[in-house]
């Protein structure tokens, strides 16, 4: 009957109860939506970086490092590439020749990272081919180059214009080659677009004098979640080579992921704190309003634990109604935006620096539902403690005569 009394009590003031239910639902929705937004944001950031260039795992000669010395190729690279192609966990592999150099147009010059790639392999590993906005992603002709839109604008060049690449060859001499712009791409990362150019592997290798030497093996996995496990396997398989996951290559990106996780909990904490004060306020009002009733209940023999439980039950019941509503609203709204995206074009310039497009697609893992629901339920229970304690402080002789 205590359940019955508590349940009926919460509907004595429908508006007030609906306010609490709406607060719980809104708190849950706000928290989960925010988490979904950030998860989506980070995932897109990571995916874009992985798909554009990083891939899941990269293998280098350990000496290649930051200097990107062209002499530091991977020993026996072709055999490794062939072996990786047969790995069931690997979706695609690409061997790259990489060097730092200067790109010059008739009007200006800029420092770039030059990637010599096999277009056939690279198409399967990088999204750059899909981001070509003018021209094509290599046409099969000699000395073609694909550059970013931002770089093209900076150099003042257009499709089919010629540019000159200058860099240091294997022998240490400066070498240069003239390339025709076959395609212009625009990825979601403007910094990448400005700093990276793509040519045919053979064209660059010829100028570098490295022959079949590969500086970087990029590996795209079938399941990105297995990256750490598989990278550990490759590390033991190729102990003399530097095997790195995308998180190790771009530590700030890994840091961003971890930071976002912590940020989400902090933000959720702030939302739940606000929710807690809302519930305390409403429940306290409900308790103080029924002072005479609590006095009567204690007078006729309702003991304090029962009074406490009854008030707690009222809060818990309100929460139990609010939580499913909040979850359903969250599922509906997150699903909608996961499909159509949240238009963030007002911040497109800032977002492109992060490598995120104009649309953010929120994403929520089922584990988050559970943890956020538990956090909300705990908040509601904690919020009910003070009002319930307050109810215990009433003196029956005084409370009974309260109006």
């Amino acid at each position: 009957m205590l359940f019955k009394v508590a349940w009926r009590n919460i509907w004595r003031n429908t508006t007030r109860s609906l306010v609490v239910i709406a607060s719980v639902a809104a708190g849950l929705l706000a928290g989960m939506f925010l988490i979904a937004f950030f998860q989506g944001f980070v995932k897109q950031d990571v995916n874009n970086a992985v798909e554009a260039q990083l891939a899941h795992i990269q293998i280098h000669n350990p000496a290649f490092g930051d200097d990107k010395d062209v002499n530091d190729t991977i020993t026996n690279a072709s055999a490794i590439v062939e072996k990786l192609r047969k790995d069931v966990n690997v979706k695609s592999v690409s061997g790259r020749a990489i060097t730092m150099g200067m790109i010059s147009s008739s009007s200006t010059a800029s420092g770039v990272e030059i990637h010599g790639v096999n277009p056939g392999d690279e198409k399967n590993i990088s999204s750059i081919s899909q981001n070509v906005v003018e021209g094509v992603y290599f046409d099969g002709k000699k000395n073609e180059i694909v550059i970013g839109k931002k770089l093209a604008d900076k150099l003042g060049v257009k499709l089919h214009n010629k540019i000159v690449l200058t860099f240091q060859s294997k022998s240490g001499d400066l070498t240069a080659g003239s390339f025709r712009i076959a395609g212009i791409f625009r990825s979601r990362n403007s910094a990448f677009d400005e700093m990276t150019v793509f040519t045919n592997f053979d064209d660059v290798a010829q100028l570098l004098g490295t022959g079949n030497g590969i500086h970087e093996i990029a590996i795209l996995l079938k399941d990105g979640q297995k990256v750490d496990t598989l990278a550990a396997g490759y590390k033991s398989q190729y102990p003399k080579l530097l095997v790195q996951t995308w998180g190790e290559i771009e530590p700030e990106m890994g840091l961003l992921t971890g930071l976002m996780d912590q940020m989400m909990y902090i933000i959720m904490g702030i939302i739940l704190l606000a929710l807690m004060f809302g519930i305390i306020n409403t429940m306290l009002m409900a308790v103080l309003e029924r002072q005479r009733e609590f006095g009567m209940l204690m007078a006729i023999g309702m003991n304090k634990p029962r009074v406490f439980i009854m008030v707690m039950l009222e809060s818990i019941m309100l929460t139990c109604v609010g939580i499913p509503i909040g979850i359903l609203l969250t599922i509906g709204i997150v699903d909608y935006f996961a499909k159509y995206g949240i238009n963030m074009s007002a911040f497109s310039k800032a977002l492109s620096q992060f490598g995120v497009g104009n649309y953010v697609y929120p994403e929520l893992h089922s584990s988050m539902f559970l943890s956020v629901t538990i956090m909300t339920a705990i908040t509601a229970i904690l919020s009910a403690i003070y009002p319930a304690y307050k109810a215990l402080q009433f003196k029956p002789a005084v409370a009974i005569h309260q109006i």
Binding site: M1, L2, K4, V5, R8, N9, R12, R292, E293, M296, L297, M298, A299, I300, G301, M302, N303, K304, R306, K395, P396, A397, I400, H401
Partner: protein, 228 residues
């Protein structure tokens, strides 16, 4: 007949350290089983305070209260709540029913606190409501009942715990004459047939007329104690 209530040199003082106000001042009172007693006196004479003290709803500043030989004066709050549940029935001026429960559930509620089985609760509630003439109102909530009917439910609720006595604080104050008469008849019948002890605080002459003992309070002191 044995004493069901014994109050010795009972006092209740408000603001003892500043300007002391004696709500009850050195009261001695014994109530025997089966009495039908009215506490009368002008407003502020201490009727309600005395009822609160002998009902264990308030603690005295001095003296002692014994219920059926048990000293409740220094009993801790939790024990006192349980003691009230098992020994005392209350009827309040403003009915004070649980608004979200039906008449029957209100009566059952006290027995639920006593952990009585469901079937016994339901049967007792039906029987008691029948005794107070509300057998056709079992499933009505307080808001669907008249003042007189609500007070009758309150009497049935007070009886439900099988108390040693019932304390009624101005039970007819909010009732019209017909309801008052009806309620008094029910209480007199319960007193006569079931030997239930009733102690009222009242201003109502009709209640005073029905009472077999009238205790008059003025300024917290008993100035007369008349048995009819």
């Amino acid at each position: 007949m044995s004493n069901v209530i014994e109050a010795h040199n009972l006092s209740k003082v408000y603001n003892p350290k500043t300007i002391p106000v004696y709500a009850i001042n050195g009261v001695d009172l014994q109530i025997e089983e089966g009495e039908f007693t009215a506490l009368v006196g002008p407003s502020g004479s201490g009727k309600t305070t005395l009822l609160n003290l002998i009902g264990g709803l308030d603690s005295p500043s001095g003296g002692e209260v014994k219920i059926a030989g048990v000293d409740i004066t220094n009993m801790n709050e939790n024990k006192l709540i349980d003691f009230r549940l098992q020994n005392i029935g209350f009827v309040f001026q403003a009915y004070n029913l649980i608004p979200v429960l039906t008449a029957s559930e209100n009566v059952e509620f006290v027995m639920l606190m006593q952990k009585k089985p469901k079937r016994e609760r339901e049967e007792t509630a039906r029987k008691l409501l029948q005794e107070v003439g509300l057998n056709d109102r079992l499933n009505n909530r307080p808001s669907e009942l008249s003042g007189g009917q609500q007070q009758r439910v309150a009497v049935a609720r007070a009886l439900a715990s099988k108390p040693r006595f019932i304390l009624a604080d101005e039970p007819t104050a909010n009732l019209d004459s017909k309801s008052t008469e009806n309620l008094l008849e029910i209480m007199a019948k319960l007193n006569k047939e079931d030997k239930m002890t009733f102690i009222f605080s009242t201003h109502d002459q009709r209640v005073i007329d029905k009472a077999r003992r009238v205790v008059t309070l003025v300024d917290g002191k008993i100035i007369s104690d008349t048995k009819k």
